[in-house]
Symmetry: C2
Subunit: 629 residues, 2 copies
Amino acid sequence: MSSLESDKVMSPKLTVELLRQLRLAMKNCKYFSEPIQAYIIPSGDAHQSEYIAPCDCRREFICGFNGSAGTAIVTEQHAAMWTDGRYFLQASQQMDNNWTLMKMGLKETPSQEDWLISVLPENSKVGVDPWIFAADQWKNMSKALAGAGHSLVAVQDNLIDAVWQDRPPRPSTQLMTLGLERTGMSWQDKITALRAKMRERKINWFVATALDEIAWLYNLRGSDIEYNPVFFAYSIVGMKTIRLFVDLKRLEDPAARQHLQLDAPSRPELSIQVSPYEAVHTELQAVCAALGPKDKVWICDKAGCALTQVIPKTHRSQISYTPLCLAKAVKNATEIQGMKTAHIKDAVALCELFAWLEKEIPKGTVTEISSADKAEEFRSQQKDFVGLSFPSISSVGPNGAIIHYRPLPETNRTLSLNEVYLLDSGAQYKDGTTDVTRTVHFGTPSAYEKECFTYVLKGHIAVSAAIFPNGTKGHLLDSFARAALWEAGLDYLHGTGHGVGCFLNVHEGPCGISYKTFADEPLEAGMIVSDEPGYYEDGSFGVRIENVVLVVPSKPKYNYMNRGSLTFEPLTLVPMQVKMMNADMLTQKERDWVNDYHRQCIETVGAELRRQGRKEALDWLIRETQPIA
Amino acid sequence: MSSLESDKVMSPKLTVELLRQLRLAMKNCKYFSEPIQAYIIPSGDAHQSEYIAPCDCRREFICGFNGSAGTAIVTEQHAAMWTDGRYFLQASQQMDNNWTLMKMGLKETPSQEDWLISVLPENSKVGVDPWIFAADQWKNMSKALAGAGHSLVAVQDNLIDAVWQDRPPRPSTQLMTLGLERTGMSWQDKITALRAKMRERKINWFVATALDEIAWLYNLRGSDIEYNPVFFAYSIVGMKTIRLFVDLKRLEDPAARQHLQLDAPSRPELSIQVSPYEAVHTELQAVCAALGPKDKVWICDKAGCALTQVIPKTHRSQISYTPLCLAKAVKNATEIQGMKTAHIKDAVALCELFAWLEKEIPKGTVTEISSADKAEEFRSQQKDFVGLSFPSISSVGPNGAIIHYRPLPETNRTLSLNEVYLLDSGAQYKDGTTDVTRTVHFGTPSAYEKECFTYVLKGHIAVSAAIFPNGTKGHLLDSFARAALWEAGLDYLHGTGHGVGCFLNVHEGPCGISYKTFADEPLEAGMIVSDEPGYYEDGSFGVRIENVVLVVPSKPKYNYMNRGSLTFEPLTLVPMQVKMMNADMLTQKERDWVNDYHRQCIETVGAELRRQGRKEALDWLIRETQPIA
């Protein structure tokens, strides 16, 4: 999927004319009552989405840089773009010399605030689109600018859109309705549960802005954003009313109408009032105008400030994690069963891929891109396949050491018997979302490659087999994944795990396993996270071993303070290559874990391969799951 | 040391008359221009001290409760005192019924802010002594009260002092000067290093308020506060001036005058201007009045708001950890050598104690208090002994499960052959500070006691032997201490380690090993922390194994990104009782660690015992350090 987009990627975009037009717009009183001296263009959309639709790629449009993270700022004289170390090279190749690349993380690089203060004339106005600028960002930027005599101002019309001639329309894909057999809970019951939480916290209204939360709440899916089965919408839920803001054409579909009971609501308080997507601002204003003196409105602190600021401060209750985010993270029995089914199908596809690779690689015709495409092909043959859950990281040898690698024609490497192959990929099925990384060698790995793989494996097992008290936050488990690497003087510079949605976003809050955060919510049974330690040897190879794991109750010998204990159950059931392991470095416990895991793979996935009559893949699986001594 | 204070501890203090007087003072315009409707009495002193002098025990004076943590609030109608679970029983026994005990941590207990808002008449003034109320507390409380129409006001004279007839005077003990042979760095060089940091961050003035930072900076010690060798002082350091605020009588001592070069400063910029302790406010005002437009003043964000608010906001730079705190934490070679010497002497004393206990316990005459006293006696025989570093936790059987236990006559238990004994104690020597916990059984421990001890030991070793990258924060190591307990379903409800001063406070920032904080500074070579996991079986026994350990460079096989690695070296060298270990539960690595540790004990402490001719203790040490198979 990555080959199409990438052709034009590496030549700089010419931006003289665009910048001229943008600077004109900055002075045009049609957009703001006074001229503004700087305009900030963030990466995001109005829903805090990690992946965004083409119509929201405004920062890419204005500067040419198309990486996932970056903020552009244009003043009358300057244009600068901030991004992190992953993208220094790419950004410098994609931007012309009208732009200054601001390398985040380097000591000499100023923050956006400091830079603005250093270049702006006195008493400047800095404009931003309040829809895509989060409330917490607004607070910090506004304070810093005010301290230097400037002011941050909200420009309601987006100035990039104003100069973007052929801006793609906002997608409005068909809505897919999910029944109880997929979701385990009707949207009506989810609304009722949400209202119970609101009552408990004395909250009268809840404003939902995150697309995955809205999709989860209404048991609907869309395909507005690549890899993420979501659709553009907002929702406002009160104790007696429900408002959904969405392109009304999507609701002409009888299935969607019936699913939402638009024509015959079962009960008045479960009647959904639908309005156009754009009407959310006006409707929220109306809701706020009618608030009682003690009424409170819940909104996520990462929501755009356009909506946040509609709610008067005394009525606003900002939260890091919404009740939908928390409820969505704990999967119910139906969702867990769906995730299990999806992972078995996904394992079937990967067994097929690896069996196929073994045969094809010696011919010298398989590349990073063709291998990823083949994986997608095998996955697409599985029932209820919808699409990939993220762009496949298919990387050979030195490319494997680039953590966020994505093969492009100019970097595309051929798989061989001489180099380590790392494949991090996943899919969306109607019953669940997958995300799995395997690191394999098709020839003979070096002793050093095996050594590093084994440290990573020890870390993976240490997390997967950990037993920990109920109420433990995931960040407390992160060091378990690193202990073996640290002992050898090695490490990896990314977190160990992220939450995974059920036929939803492959990255979701509020839990995870990372040294980088302290604000994660405690793990509880039913949550699903990834366990993916790695090791990256610059210019040589990369190792990552990733399973998606389910948090399950554990029954150790004792039960201190009746707190209960938890552990993880792997949902991913794809063999870890024994050839890459140095078995002497493993403890007996670790060897037992590997053998036990492979027993589960052969029992569960083997049965499915047999059922689907996929003989070659089955033979491969049988061979790859032989116990180690 | 604990026996004297404790006689009157458990009968409630009669507070009717005191409260009447305090309420009169709250209405007296001599203290504040208008009557105030509530007065907050925190625990602390004006220096964020953990232990406080008798003259600062204002909360104890007004309500009778003498635990280490608690805040009292008095309104016209109510008097309430907030404390945590450690102290619910004690507080309820020490306070009369004019007081409401507010049990922190229980769901139904309101926060101080919420309670104030619920009981205050409209538009109330809430008073506080700004010297002992920290700047960050002020901010939160002030905001909450303002949101409900009240205001927080600074009452310059402390109202408790106003009604406290026989308030003890502020201590002004003799200052002890420490030469280069103890400190490894002159105060002049410390000032120069501080100024370099200030220059680096473009800071013009630094206000020091923490007593241990001031003692460290000037290489002086005092005994104003029990257990902590500090003295009451403030200091303000500019690029060309140094001001020290201290009771001037202390500086009549020629040794102190000479040490500080008061009569003949070597260089003008190293000339110390001394002023009375109380003059700091006026002098800081004078400094601030003369600030240039871009001048900045550094002050700790936990300093009292009286001084913080003197610094105009635009000139104020508040920091969590001051440069002195950070510099003090990394011990130099002389300090490390001193700490090692102190720990050897301390080990000698404990070997003597344990040998003595073995002989005496069968007679049935040794109690928790007499054992602690005996430990103090043995320590006091060691060279350069100054005093204890904290009240000894000497606890038998069920008392050992009370984490913050301190034996009192009414709880004092006799040591026997049937119960586990936990002793957590330490001392101040002129060359260093110690803090050690050992858990022992003088008869035959039960299988369960051994099992729990062994989990704790595994956790202790996991931290002590951990190898981790330079730049790692201590909180990332906390779970290593818990993994074995967690696997058995057990845990302990305290952090794993704290920073330790060198002949200074036994608890110091900015590093530590705890799941509770994210704001600790990274560990670096030369830092000293404790490693003290535990397990507490309510009503039965407690286990804790504590060493003080030094952060040292480690040389593992690889060196990822040239970051370098660290590990710990135990400074404490007291045997861990093999009798309490279930050796079958230990891995070979863990057994090797125990044997290696005991080899160090016998080599280092054995030699010293021999030198001191302490035969019985040496025999005990030889026996207790026999290798396990």
